[in-house]
């Protein structure tokens, strides 16, 4: 039985802004565009330190584009993005590097460097950003590969392992520097349910052990309900965010038909 749901007359009150915790990322009045095409308008939200924050929405709603803005690959058309209170200035190389040093990103297809072994892939950020010696780097690499279940695979090239393993190796690279904020773009796509569940475990463990702030772009409802502290919904029709809060609360009290359909995996009411 579908609960009676109506779209909110005013979008803003639906969104609960955080009242506790220091924001790791703050987005103020963000408008995303490709050329003249507006993807999303007036996004205002913050990601609290140490929480798992999920960006969700239909295909083509701009989740991955928003992620690209958050990690500094795209500049906002309007608005600002603050990383721990500091504006992510793409033009200033020193600021950019300092901020990027504290971020880790797991791309949708892993994006491992094909000319390097898995160990070399994980070692590269350590060589670039730390003063660790070769022996210490080898130990960190072995540990990170172990954490993602790839002990003993350091000498393999990305082309010699499966897609799921490539994704896990990419995660080892993303956590090489123990980043403060980790971004995941569709982490469970292309993974079998066991690997996807193991990845969820790892996300929760990283949050619990290191207090890592985690931002995840995903469609995977099981994963959303398991790992997310809060979720943001991007509405492709309204071209803005229409919901923000714990996923279970959004499912039980959906602020719009679209959010309800999304969180209950239903096509009811669609013509």
């Amino acid at each position: 039985m579908t609960p009676a749901v109506t779209a909110p007359a005013v979008i803003a009150p639906v969104i609960s802004t955080p009242t506790t915790g220091t924001p790791a990322i703050e987005v103020r009045g963000l408008t995303m565009q490709y050329g003249d095409l507006v993807i999303m308008n007036n996004l205002n939200f913050s990601v609290r330190t140490g929480e798992v924050f999920v960006l969700m929405g239909g295909s083509g709603s701009g989740k991955s584009t928003l992620l690209k803005h958050l990690i500094g690959l795209k500049a906002p058309a309007h608005g600002t993005i603050l990383f721990e209170g500091e504006a992510f200035d793409l033009e200033n190389d020193a600021t950019r590097k300092r901020v990027l040093r504290r971020m880790g990103v797991l791309y949708q297809n892993g994006a491992l460097w094909s000319g390097l072994t898995l160990a070399e892939n994980v070692a590269l950020p350590l060589e670039e950003f730390t003063e660790l010696g070769a022996e210490a780097i080898a130990e960190v690499v072995a540990l990170k590969l172990s954490l993602v279940g790839l002990r003993g695979f350091g000498a393999f090239y990305p082309s010699a392992i499966s897609g799921g393993m490539r994704k896990r190796a990419a995660l080892a690279r993303a956590i090489a520097l123990d980043p403060d904020v980790l971004f995941f773009d569709e982490p469970s796509s292309g993974l079998d349910p066991i690997s996807a569940s193991r990845l969820d475990d790892l996300i929760l463990e990283l949050k619990a052990s290191f207090g890592t702030t985690i931002v995840v772009v995903t469609h995977d409802l099981a994963s959303i309900f398991r790992i997310a502290d809060r979720a943001l919904f991007l509405d492709i029709d309204k071209k803005t965010m229409t919901a923000l809060g714990p996923p279970a609360e959004l499912r039980d009290n959906p602020p719009s038909d679209e959010v309800h359909r999304f969180l209950t995996r239903s096509s009811e009411g669609l013509s």
Partner: protein
């Protein structure tokens, strides 16, 4: 760049228990103490130690570096039969360590021994044979597809054909013009210098005419197009292979040869002879300019001399070469593209291979055709 207070580890030994006192910031950015070095300090009296414990009350920030220190302690304990107690560590550490050890280590088999010289030679022959066979099979497939097209049994995407024609006409003209002009000039310079010694400078027009029409016009156009169009074919089809577009054709029962290779081959087949004729003309003009400048010949004298000696068969030989070179470029480019592997570097390798194979075969084919022309007295 160092930040925060230094990571420190001190050792306190009481009643057989070595307590490692951790303090400061244990982050990857700090120089880190090594557990084996710390514990080795007590090695002189190994009988005393039974247990390694930790005191982390003065520990400030920490990250993976502390986990690595713990793994070092555990490895040391295992080696020296010591019990490692993790009770004094932050509670997350043993949990993370358990996660790291949840999957057993993969034991990588030893790399196979490098094959001996004879084995490598044999392997090269086998690979060469397979490659030659694949090329012949592919050429056959293209020929069958072309036959089917003539008999109207297949529908070709004419848009792709026109794209290739456009790319090999207006797109290729600047580079063909430049190279053909320079080659004509070089032949003329050579002729002027050498023939003048024998008082036969006037015959430079023969040399330019024969050189461009029989050899250099087609050869240089072939080499340019192998580097330009052959590489483009390999890169386009290689990218399609990686993104499974070729598989999508195959699984739909559509022949990639008919839909992708044929338009490209046909485009080159049409354009190569035309480009060769154009290159011949531009090269001859380049030679004429040098002759006019260095030998004070008029354009009429130059072309008069040239037409006295050069026959239509010389020009036709060059055009036929152009057609054959076009086929070689198309087959090498498309075949290497379709044979692309699946990794990111595969397209680059396929492109390089297409150019190298294309140029090598063009020069080889040129030599064979010259030999045949000499035999047939053409």
């Amino acid at each position: 760049m160092l930040t925060g207070s230094a990571a420190e580890a001190d050792l306190r030994v009481e009643s057989g228990v070595a307590t490692i006192v951790l303090s400061g910031d244990w982050t990857l950015e700090q120089p880190l103490p090594r557990a084996d070095e710390l514990l080795d300090a007590r090695k002189a009296d190994p009988g005393v130690l039974r247990t390694v414990a930790f005191d982390s009350s003065a520990l400030e920030e920490w990250d993976s570096s502390l986990l690595i220190f713990l793994t070092q302690c555990e490895a040391y304990g295992e080696e020296h039969q010591l019990t490692v107690e993790t009770a004094g560590l932050p509670e997350q550490l043993p949990r993370l360590l358990a996660l790291a050890r949840a999957v057993p280590e993969r034991t990588t088999p030893d790399a196979p021994e490098r094959a001996r010289f004879l084995a490598r030679m044999g392997l090269s022959v086998v690979t060469g044979y397979a490659s030659a066979r694949a090329s012949i099979t592919f050429t056959g497939e293209v020929a069958i597809a072309a036959g089917n097209l003539v008999r109207r049994r297949v529908g070709m995407r004419w848009r792709d054909f026109w794209v290739v024609v456009q790319s090999n006409s207006s797109g290729a003209l600047p580079i063909v013009t430049l190279i053909a002009l320079l080659v004509g000039i070089i032949i003329a310079f050579l002729g002027v210098v050498v023939l003048k010694r024998f008082g036969a400078g006037y015959y430079v027009s023969y040399l330019v005419g024969f050189g461009m029409l029989r050899e250099m016009g087609a050869l240089m156009t072939g080499i340019i197009m192998a580097g330009r169009t052959g590489a483009a074919f390999a890169a386009e089809l290689g990218s399609m292979k990686i993104t499974e577009e070729i598989d999508a054709y195959t699984t739909l029962g559509i022949s990639p040869v008919e839909h992708l290779v044929l338009p490209r081959m046909l485009g080159l087949f049409v354009m190569m002879p035309l480009l060769t004729i154009y290159a011949d003309f531009v090269g001859i003009v380049g030679g004429m300019l040098v002759s006019m400048w260095m030998l004070d010949l008029s354009a009429t004298q130059f072309f008069g001399g040239l037409l006295d000696a050069v026959t239509l068969s010389d020009a036709l030989l060059g055009v036929i070469k152009g057609v054959i070179f076009g086929a070689i470029i198309g087959i090498a480019g498309c075949l290497k593209g379709l044979q692309t592997g699946s990794d990111a570097g595969a397209v680059g390798r396929a492109t390089t291979s297409a150019v190298v194979v294309g140029i090598t075969l063009i020069i080889l084919a040129n030599a064979v055709m010259d030999w045949l022309a000499a035999l047939l007295e053409v």
